[in-house]
Symmetry: C2
């Protein structure tokens, strides 16, 4: 009676794997935020991300937005469409090159953003309260490097990852 394999035989303990641990925090924190903005404004996840980007970077074009929040051009286009329907954003042809849309947040978009941002800040405050001052500093600096390295990992694709170490 040995149809199922018994214990773990590779070196990956999920609960200790760094990306998984980060994922858990992100997923759990995203859920209440998402239910807030979707219930309150009918905003999708992509819509919220884009709103947050154009709230801090005015007259952004679609590719910039996509890069800033890990969204492909289709999703960006649709997200902007949603924001435009809700009256939270306007798109105008770009000033110099009119192929580039210049997407800007509207007044009511900013109002909505501020409401969501208040929740976001509350969440961050709850998290930061669990850390000491020196931990915050360490994490801030470490995270900068992790962002850079993860961008490179992403850009390289999975094939590049197996050239370094053990391969199947």
């Amino acid at each position: 009676m040995k149809q199922t394999a018994p214990a773990s035989d590779d070196g990956l303990k999920l609960s200790a794997w760094l990306p998984y641990r980060l994922f858990l925090v992100v997923a759990q924190v995203a859920r209440p935020l998402e239910s807030f903005y979707s219930e309150t404004f009918g905003l999708s996840q992509a819509g919220w991300r884009i709103l947050a980007v154009i709230a801090e970077r005015d007259a952004a074009n679609a590719s910039e937005i996509g890069r800033a929040c890990a969204l492909d051009p289709f999703a960006v286009s649709r997200g902007i469409g949603q924001l435009a329907d809700l009256g939270f954003a306007v798109r105008r042809p770009g000033k110099t090159d009119r192929r580039f849309a210049a997407v800007s947040i509207t007044r009511s978009g900013r109002v909505a953003f501020n409401r969501i941002a208040a929740l976001g800040s509350a969440i961050e405050a709850r998290l930061l309260a669990r850390l000491t001052e020196s931990e915050r500093t360490t994490i801030d600096s470490a995270l900068t490097r992790l962002e850079g390295e993860s961008a490179r990992i992403d850009a390289g694709g999975w094939r590049a990852l197996l050239d370094d170490a053990d391969v199947p």
Copy 2:
């Protein structure tokens, strides 16, 4: 000419917001891994997460799995179905209480898991290489607290978050 609101007036700078920074790392790191297991095994994201859970915790039931990887019962059920179709998992009625499914990884499921885990380990290694030993220690301990706090945040829902601080 003032249809659009100008600069940021609330305190949320997206690029400095902790959950966003964590999200970026997670999203970028997940992408190559996902394209690997979906191309190679036809596994969905939920399928992979569940596979990873049952690889380290044998005879798990659906709610345990769901809790362990932030998946609702429907998604878990479907994910298990997918794994069963692929021959990577079997479900049997639980031993004592037969309502609980006892989900176990199969031999070929473990083979697949090990292949994916190798990639996962490579990714983690790349990330950890960017950190000093003391940063790793700090992050390890901080992350444990963040996991706990984010679980509480999730459990409380968004209404609970606004009772503490500034409200809209």
